[in-house]
Symmetry: C2
Amino acid sequence: MSRAFDQLKPHLKRAMALNTALVLFEWDDATQAPEQAGALTGDVIGILSGEYFQAVNNEEVARLAEACSQETDLTESEAAQVKELLREIEKLSKIPQEEYQAFAKLVSESTRVWEAAKKANDFSKFAPVLKQVIDWQKKFAGYRAKPGQKKYDVMLEDYEPGFSMEKLDEFFAMVRREIAPLFRQVMESGVEIEDGFLSGDFDDETQEKIGRFIAEYVGFDFQKGVMAVSAHPFTTNLHNKDVRITTHYTDRLDSSLFSIIHETGHALYEFGIRDDLTQTMAGQGASMGMHESQSRFFENIVGRSAGFWKPVYGKLQEAFPENLGQVSLEEFVRAVNKASAGLIRTEADELSYSLHVLVRYELEKELIEGDLQVENLPEAWADKYEEYLGIRPENVREGVLQDIHWSQGSFGYFPSYALGSAFSAQLYYHMKKEMDFEELLEEGKLSVIREYLREHVHQYGKIKDSRQILKDTTGEDFKPEYYVRYLKEKYQKLYQLPQ
Amino acid sequence: MSRAFDQLKPHLKRAMALNTALVLFEWDDATQAPEQAGALTGDVIGILSGEYFQAVNNEEVARLAEACSQETDLTESEAAQVKELLREIEKLSKIPQEEYQAFAKLVSESTRVWEAAKKANDFSKFAPVLKQVIDWQKKFAGYRAKPGQKKYDVMLEDYEPGFSMEKLDEFFAMVRREIAPLFRQVMESGVEIEDGFLSGDFDDETQEKIGRFIAEYVGFDFQKGVMAVSAHPFTTNLHNKDVRITTHYTDRLDSSLFSIIHETGHALYEFGIRDDLTQTMAGQGASMGMHESQSRFFENIVGRSAGFWKPVYGKLQEAFPENLGQVSLEEFVRAVNKASAGLIRTEADELSYSLHVLVRYELEKELIEGDLQVENLPEAWADKYEEYLGIRPENVREGVLQDIHWSQGSFGYFPSYALGSAFSAQLYYHMKKEMDFEELLEEGKLSVIREYLREHVHQYGKIKDSRQILKDTTGEDFKPEYYVRYLKEKYQKLYQLPQ
């Protein structure tokens, strides 16, 4: 008698193939598809998505998945795949297919509406459709909630298993209590960091050339990867031998440089997934937050350090002699760490970033669990920015309409950005005990750092969740104190604050 | 009661979506996929191909297709779709699936073997697998042959419906009788055309810039299309709003320029397919030959004429002042029409091109229908090159191993290249009666020419076959005399031969 998993395998492979095709269409759309292709290619994507839905969500697969969960001889990889499949089935099967499709349609509509509203700087255009999106998502969360489970917790669980409101409230309380005052201190310190030389007319070709060099230096493998240009930088992958990042070239040199290092961090995760996991449902990162921890680890902890730039800053100066020729390594590193009170999350520095997320977390909670009305969002948004960042958006384009996430129905996503930073800090303090981190950076031995993360984080895919990874690697459950400590040590020094 | 076609539609849409995904994977592989992605992405492609096979080749679809062929209220587009579906079913259903898959596997193997053999310049490495490929293809043709139908005719019909050996023998007899002697006359004319200025160190960026300009000038719509780089130039499309061409940049300026014009000719065909045909099985060009007629029409008849370059040659000179600054329009046009006895088909000039195809047609016939043994191919190849082109390959790399086609099992494909040229000449002489062709070129009014072809050729997709298109457009069945006349008029003048 054949094992249930062996019978399940062709179904999983079919789902994987369809999913890979969808990933490629998404990549293509963001990087090169012609402007007018959208509608017709959309039909294709719609059909393939439907095929994927049916490949995963049918009676035979459900029966086999159930049977597999009873099997005792599954490999680690197989068990993880079954777990992910059951999670997916749970999610899909509780939502009637008509409602799921109606929602998918609404979302593609609402994203367009959001774009137009942002362009017109007019929240009232977006409000009605956002209200519908929220109503649907609350309805879906209601279908899926376990007895007694809150709706927002259902949403959070999709992005970061193991992190409910209870845990996040604790985390964000610490952000509010420790980081918001630190940020105020920094703003009031009177220290002015010069970063004018980061702005200028940097030609795209040279930016790309040095960008590729830096990506490779950090560990991007161009034999197994592609780098391209898109409006918003992102990372995707077909499998662990085909990982793709994008960047964009602007008049801020640090914008492309650090987006490349950030995406390379994501890419290293995907390159590092084990061969028996890639191309399976368990072959992605453990969670959004753990993925983000790797990108932020390389972007901020590694990439914004003096040690990192020591071996390669000369190369950057050579690429842009007019802009950086007279700028010392120390001045450059200070500039790329400058904190400022900005309105836009994606342009925020490392210190204020978590405050941007704090605003969103508190608003999402109130929208889903509290009684904040959509109409009152712009005001609530502005109030919180004023409270935490000391700055008030003068228009909704730079306020509540800046992010795409809500228009796509992604509630519960934002917290994982801040969690990622916190995870990376916890990993960092542990790694410093295991290796001479600073020396490795200064000697350009990034492979030791990469290897460590591959061994402890990347290889496992979804075999472990983020808390398990932290426990197994650092010996401790998630501990946000490391994040606070990291930011304090770094910014107190940079801004000459009393310690 | 719903029409059979309406029941068939979801099946056709599914097949179309899977096929579009396969097209995108192919594009991606040729233009940007990382080197090491091949094996894992190959799994995905294998699964999606299997899905496509099953989407088209199953009992319900066969039953519905049969029912549709009895329906009387089909639109023109629907009828064409049913015809193509029945053709596809006929092809797939007669070949046992295990054999089809075994052959697909052999072909992916044999392409690699061919590549290695070509690199090693060693035919004996390729011969055994080529023999297997031929045996399979003969077997498949045997399964599919109608009573009394020859195997090579089955193969030819796949690429050019309506053109059997009987018709092609006639055509190639004329090539041998008229063009081979003309080519000899040209070679012996003593006229030396200077084309040294076409070789040089042309930087890729400038080549790309002028290439995009020329593509757009010919009619490529970048709102609905993409241009990229690949080892061998090609055209593909997802649908009529997403058409993609590639080129390559070498040290021959004419190489990228005319490959871009050639591929733009293919692209115009795809842009011109009617909206009710695109994304259906009848939504591609009528045939390989008719497709090639459009690329060659723009590359040769339009693109290598003095009239075409008159409005834009100055732009080309500006792009490469050092190379072309002192070269007159007349000298440039003479150079890009220079005939020479070369060994490589893809580098052949317009005149000798048909002789390269003649060699391959005669050899294929002997391999499939005659008693030519694979072991004797290199010798037979060399003999024919000596006979028709007066030049003998000194190694197999530049001889029988130069083309990928046979390794892929594509027998019957080559003739369509020469047919394409012949179709384009027939269309050309007819169009000259309907419009002042020369004046349109000189005034840069290419849209009139494009529109004519869109109206008479492109829009129909597979509604008409190539002979029907020629009849409806020119009032005559295929007449190869126009091709001979075109080459005679052009080359007798260029090489100052007695007329």
